[in-house]
Amino acid sequence: MYRRQFLSYLAKSSLGLLVPVSGAVRAAEPERFWVMVNAGGGWDPTYFIDPKGDRNRLDGRGPVNNYSVNAITSAGNIAFPSSYPPSIDPPDANSPGHFANFFPKHAEHLLVVNGIDTQTNNHDAGSRFVWSGKIEAGYPSFAALAAATSAPMEALAYISNGGYDNTASLVAPARIGDGDVFQLLAYPNAARPWETEERRSPYFPDSIYGEIERARNERLQRQIGNSRLPLQQTQLNELVMARTGDNNLNRLVALLPDNVSSGLEGQAEVAVAAFASGIAVSANLHMGGFDTHGNHDQNHANRLTQLLSGIDRLWDEIQRSGLQDRVTVVVGSDFGRTPFYNDGRGKDHWNVTSIMAMGAGVRGNRVVGGTDDHVEALTVNPQTLLLEPGGVTLTPEHVHVALRRMAGIDSQLDARFGIDAGALNLFA
């Protein structure tokens, strides 16, 4: 039963609160976790995972990329450029986001799907399509569906750091601030929550605070019973849900690094700690800056380095927590960028894009799909997934049908937010 349905049930029933607010009785903890990493603005797959190089196009529009075609190499089956365009200030050679470091380290786990047609060059529509599987408005992101399927009532069922996070009211997305706030929130009765238990200086002695909490909860129950406005009933139930899991935040605090990093790395650290503490199911990780209409080569290299560094940290954290067989990571962007440069050394919007995936349920060291020299999508055989003229053009719909199957999305939800596309075994 997902959140809205649950709330609706509560609102209609005379049972009032079914969930113990103290969190004393909890549903089974989620077993599978999902991270969606969004490169906001529209990335350029040809810069790294669908490399073309500096061979000039036949139509006179110049090269697709400014790095040498001879720099294209591979780690396992994953092709990538080993160097950057000569005109830019390249990333630190020791950065985990440098291509030469990232791909050899992760190729074994990495699946690349190229030649995905987003059918749009608009940011909103592209982001919506890539992360919900539908170009129409109003569909929940996959991460929201996953959270709604397995643990919609958990405190942080769906963590969103930005990007497309429409939930269609299935779950309440949670935004995360600095890591320090978790301590404040994990111990709401403590003036010094960062201290050891005996030095936390409670506002009220524990037994008395228990009385206050009991009174609050009973008052909520009475309010639900007395309300005769459906909107208020829904809101009161949401309030109950929001307070159900607060006692579990302390488990998250215990699992966070001493100093949570900034940027994408920090988002990764919090997400994995939330998974490990059993209070989250899915997370959107987000960084922007990929909309490089000007000075593309330098700006895009900077952002890709940050992105790949963040993914590297994410994977390290997943492994450190022993969750590599339970977390699936998908990395994507609004759409692609033009296979040629504009007058400002930038690249504009292009409908063909790629995704990367790694982790649980993903068979790595593979590239599925592809594009031609002008970055038009090539079609694939729906059974073998090999490139085949006259086959299927991959779209975000195929990606999401496969994801939903892998996640075992609730059949009612799957039907309610249906996707009309054939099932391709993209990930396994």
């Binding site: 987003t118 059918q119 749009t120 060059n121 608009n122 909103d124 170009i135 129409e136 408005a137 958990e154 405190a155 942080l156 930005g162 309440a172 997305p173 949670a174 935004r175 601030g177 706030v181 404040l184 929130l185 994990a186 709401p188 009765n189 409670p202 506002y203 009220f204 002695p205 037994s207 008395i208 009385e211 009174a215 609050r216 008052r219 909520l220 009475r222 005769r228 406005l229 459906p230 909107l231 208020q232 809101q235 949401e238 309030l239 849900m241 929001a242 307070r243 899991g245 607060d246 987000h286 922007g288 209409h293 007058d343 400002g344 504009d348 292009w350 409908n351 063909v352 038009e376 779209t395």
Partner: protein
């Protein structure tokens, strides 16, 4: 006396003298201050005629003054439920002609038999909307015309689509004439010439007959189930939501004397206050997002967008690194915010001066502060106070054709463009925000590639592209005199000119006449938009969202949409259409729009009739989770300080906006936006937000209770009836009934003051809170006893005690006196802290 003082006095008198609760009252018929009920059957008495004197003490109450036998032949007026102490009266006719169904609740029997009104449901208003008068038509032929001209966007059943609104209860469907004009002048979108007058006549008649025949009936039936807040409750809700403060005594009196007219008048007065404009700007920034450039997001976030070529004085406040004074950073931020807030200030200016709201688009000026004017290099503006960095006045940039928000540097930078985007992004936002048209909400999968680089001019020649671009691109071309950085650079003066492979400048199918408009095309567009019927609809949408926490319902387009969904949509849309018409009729005065929304049943809803289908009312009501900004202001208004760290440290950042935890630490966690990467508010609390609510309540209780007891009695906000020595137990350890009465009285006051919840002396809720107080007190006394009264058992938590005042003065020695509050020997203070922690985490505190 301050507004707060008035209200406090009012509550003090109310609680001290009446110690009871009441709400709005009416009767079977009301005449000269009396409610007369012709017949009510009373157990043991039989049919009685009753007369109630209506009085007002904060809110309406009814005193039973007449009761006499009446004939059983007189029609029964309602039901007296002696067990529940209530009277349900089927129909009460007001002197104004309105008829309500009313439920009275008995509040006391001694010394008078006193009633309040538990519910009042309007079942017949004064005016009714005549059904649209459509000329007789051949509907069969009109149906064909509709299918040819309209159905591809609006749907064959008029249910609408993502690219076009529903025609059921549409904004122009209130009258045949207005619908005809809209079709004739604006439809089909971008090509109105393809449907002439006769076509429009036929279609308007068809749309009215086919989709709108029963709207009024459906709306009346649906709205009739909505039970309304009383005028007093509505007043408090309005003042809290618009101003983040409690109503004043004068406002209560205004409502008491004049009923709903007084309420309307009070709301109008509230809109004259600065706090209303703060809220108004928040509402519009949620859409414009220009606060991205506020100094919170970068000291010179806005100034940095101004071109140094155009505005060489933009950093006038900087005398050079070595010569900066102490106020450099402050003046820099104030200047920046004068630039950043310019479009929002224009909205406030238009509203404050009762100008037509269309002027936010058509203003041939922009708003400047004394500081931002210096950045712009503009002088000669007659500021009331040339040193007030927050005073905005109209000003003009030389040789710039201003067009309100549309040419604001902040708006143009917030929605930038590129050489390939060619202002299409700006055009999309213009359609979305000011014309309620989402160009991008395109249904279905587009065949083929979305990026066509083979067709010569795909946006014109590829029908898949031109469908939208023929609407979008003429408006995009309109902005050709404004470059990617929002600078005015007339395209005719550019070496490259404007793109020849773009649609010419125009709007809604009309090509812009070049004569007189070449360098001022956005002004031409602003004039067209101001006259477009979609503009008031767009503004209504924004204000409904701002005042109710949710946008108006979309037409149910799903194939499995039920009757209840359609009824809900039709009823709300019909009400909003009427409100919108009043907004337009009052010369686009936004205050009229705000007032009418707040007086509508959708804003005042308190309950739904028992017989109603709840599915039709899921969107009814204006309760919403307060934004962090609103909650911040509410805390300060009620407690006298905002949520920071210990009050002993308050003086250190007394004037800093950033010191508030709701403005800083928890702003985004609690669903706030930064207008940059986080642009949508969270409306439902998650686990983090739930935990934050509890922490806030605990911390504020810790700070507020000792602080209030520490204050002189005349300055207190919370404890008007008790002191720290108001102990339920006397020296013999026996219950002190006098003290208990005062404690109950103060609890009643706190429910009213903090939650807007008027409780009667016998209210179960009052008893629950009292039980909490006593329970905590008893446990605390036991705690002290079991620790032998050790100092640490009687000492307040050190973050809660009072050792410094708000100026930072040490209270240990004030003219030889120790004014600190450190100890709580009887656990009384901490018992009140528990009550505060309980109330401040309540739904009624956290939601509007």
């Amino acid at each position: 006396m301050s507004r707060f003082g008035h209200f406090k006095t009012f509550l003090l008198v109310f609680c001290a003298t009446s110690f009871s609760h009441s709400t709005l009252a009416n009767g079977a018929f009301i005449d000269d201050g009396f409610l007369l009920v012709p017949r009510i059957d009373i157990d043991g008495y039989g049919p009685m005629e009753l007369g109630f004197r209506i009085v007002f003490n904060g809110e309406y109450r009814l005193i039973l003054e007449q009761a006499q036998d009446t004939s059983a032949s007189v029609a029964n007026s309602g039901v007296w439920d002696s067990e529940a102490g209530s009277i349900s009266i089927d129909e009460v006719r007001l002197e104004s002609g309105e008829i309500y169904a009313v439920e009275l609740l008995q509040l006391q029997t001694e010394p008078q038999i006193l009633f309040g009104v538990a519910a009042a449901v309007l079942i017949q208003g004064q005016q009714s909307n005549p059904a649209p008068q459509s000329p007789p038509q051949n509907l069969a032929s009109a149906s064909q015309l509709f299918l040819q001209q309209c159905s591809s966007c609006h749907g064959a059943d008029g249910e609408g689509s993502a690219v076009a609104p529903a025609l059921i209860a549409c904004a122009s469907c209130g009258s045949y004439e207005s619908l005809l004009l809209e079709i004739r002048d604006t439809m089909p979108l971008g090509q109105p010439a393809s449907c002439d007058e006769s076509c429009a006549v036929e279609l308007a008649a068809y749309i009215q007959a086919a989709f709108n025949g029963s709207n009024e009936t459906v709306s009346n039936q649906t709205v009739g189930f909505i039970e309304l807040l009383g005028n007093g409750e509505t007043l408090r809700k309005a003042s809290e939501q618009l101003l983040s403060r409690l109503p004043t005594l004068e406002e209560f009196q205004l409502v008491a004397a004049n009923g709903q007219a007084g309420l309307a008048s009070a709301i109008d007065s509230m809109m004259e206050e600065k706090a209303f404009h703060d809220r108004l700007q928040e509402i519009f920034n949620d859409y414009l997002l220009t606060d991205k450039y506020h100094s919170r997001n970068g000291s010179e976030a806005a100034i940095g967008l101004l071109s140094n070529d155009d505005f060489p004085q933009r950093r006038w406040f900087d005398p050079g690194k070595d010569n900066r004074g102490d106020d450099y950073n402050v003046v820099r931020a104030q200047t920046n915010d004068g630039v950043a807030r310019e479009p929002l200030a224009l909205i406030s200016h238009v509203v404050a001066n009762d100008l037509p709201f269309t002027e936010i688009l058509t203003a041939d000026y922009m708003m400047m502060t004394p500081y931002s004017a210096r950045s712009y290099g503009v002088s000669g503006i007659a500021f009331d106070n040339p040193n007030d960095p927050e005073e905005f006045k109209p000003g003009r940039l030389a040789d710039i054709p201003h067009a309100g928000i549309l040419t604001s540097p902040m708006f143009l930078n917030r929605y930038p463009t590129t050489s390939t985007n060619r202002n299409r992004g700006r055009a999309r936002v213009v359609f979305d925000l000011f014309l309620d048209t989402d160009i991008l909400a395109i249904e279905g999968v587009r065949p083929g590639n979305a990026v066509d680089i083979t067709t010569p001019i795909p946006t014109i020649n590829n029908p898949q592209c031109s469908k939208c671009h023929s609407v979008l691109d003429p408006v995009a071309s309109i902005f050709q005199n404004w470059d990617s950085r929002g600078r005015y650079r007339p395209s005719r003066l550019s070496k490259y000119g404007w793109y020849i492979d773009m649609e010419p400048r125009g709007f809604n199918g009309e090509v812009m006449p070049l004569a007189g408009n070449v360098d001022s095309s956005v002004q031409w567009l602003a004039g067209r938009m101001a006259a477009d019927p979609k503009f008031p609809r767009a503004i209504t949408r924004i204000m409904v969202n701002g005042l109710t926490g949710k946008e108006p319902l979309m037409a149910p387009i799903s194939a499995d949409a039920g009757e209840s969904e359609l009824s809900a949509y039709v009823a709300e849309r019909t009400v909003l259409n009427e409100i919108q018409e009043r907004f337009v009729a009052d010369n686009y005065n936004l205050k009229t729009l705000v007032r009418e929304i707040m007086l509508s049943p959708y804003w005042r809803a308190s309950a739904i009739g028992a017989a109603a289908n709840a599915q039709s009312f899921t969107n009814v009501g204006a309760s919403y989770l307060l934004s962090p900004e609103q909650l911040d202001r509410k805390v300060e208004a009620l407690l006298g300080f905002d949520w920071r760290n210990s009050l002993d440290q308050y003086y250190k950042e007394r004037d800093s906006y950033w010191a508030s935890k709701l403005g800083r630490t928890f702003h985004q966690i609690y669903g706030g936006i930064d207008s940059d990467s986080i642009t949508t508010r969270l409306r439902s609390p998650n686990g983090m937000m739930g935990a934050m609510q509890l922490r806030m309540a605990n911390e504020l209780a810790c700070y507020a209770v000792p602080h209030d007891f520490w204050l002189p009695a005349s300055e207190r906000r919370l404890f008007l009836f008790v002191d720290t020595d108001t102990n339920p137990y006397n020296e013999e350890g026996l219950l002190d009934q006098s003290a208990l009465g005062l404690i109950r009285q103060n609890i009643q006051f706190l429910h009213e003051y903090l939650l807007g919840e008027a409780l009667t002396p016998g209210s179960p809720e009052l008893q629950h809170t009292f039980d909490l107080f006593m329970n905590v007190l008893n446990r605390g006394r036991q705690y002290i006893l079991s620790n032998s009264g050790e100092w640490w058992a009687i000492r307040l938590p050190d973050s809660c005690d009072r050792t410094r005042d708000f100026q930072g003065n040490d209270l240990k020695d004030v003219n030889g006196a120790d004014l600190r509050l450190l100890y709580d020997k009887q656990f009384v203070i901490r018992a009140w802290m528990a009550v505060l922690a309980y109330l401040l985490a309540d739904y009624k505190f956290l939601y509007s």
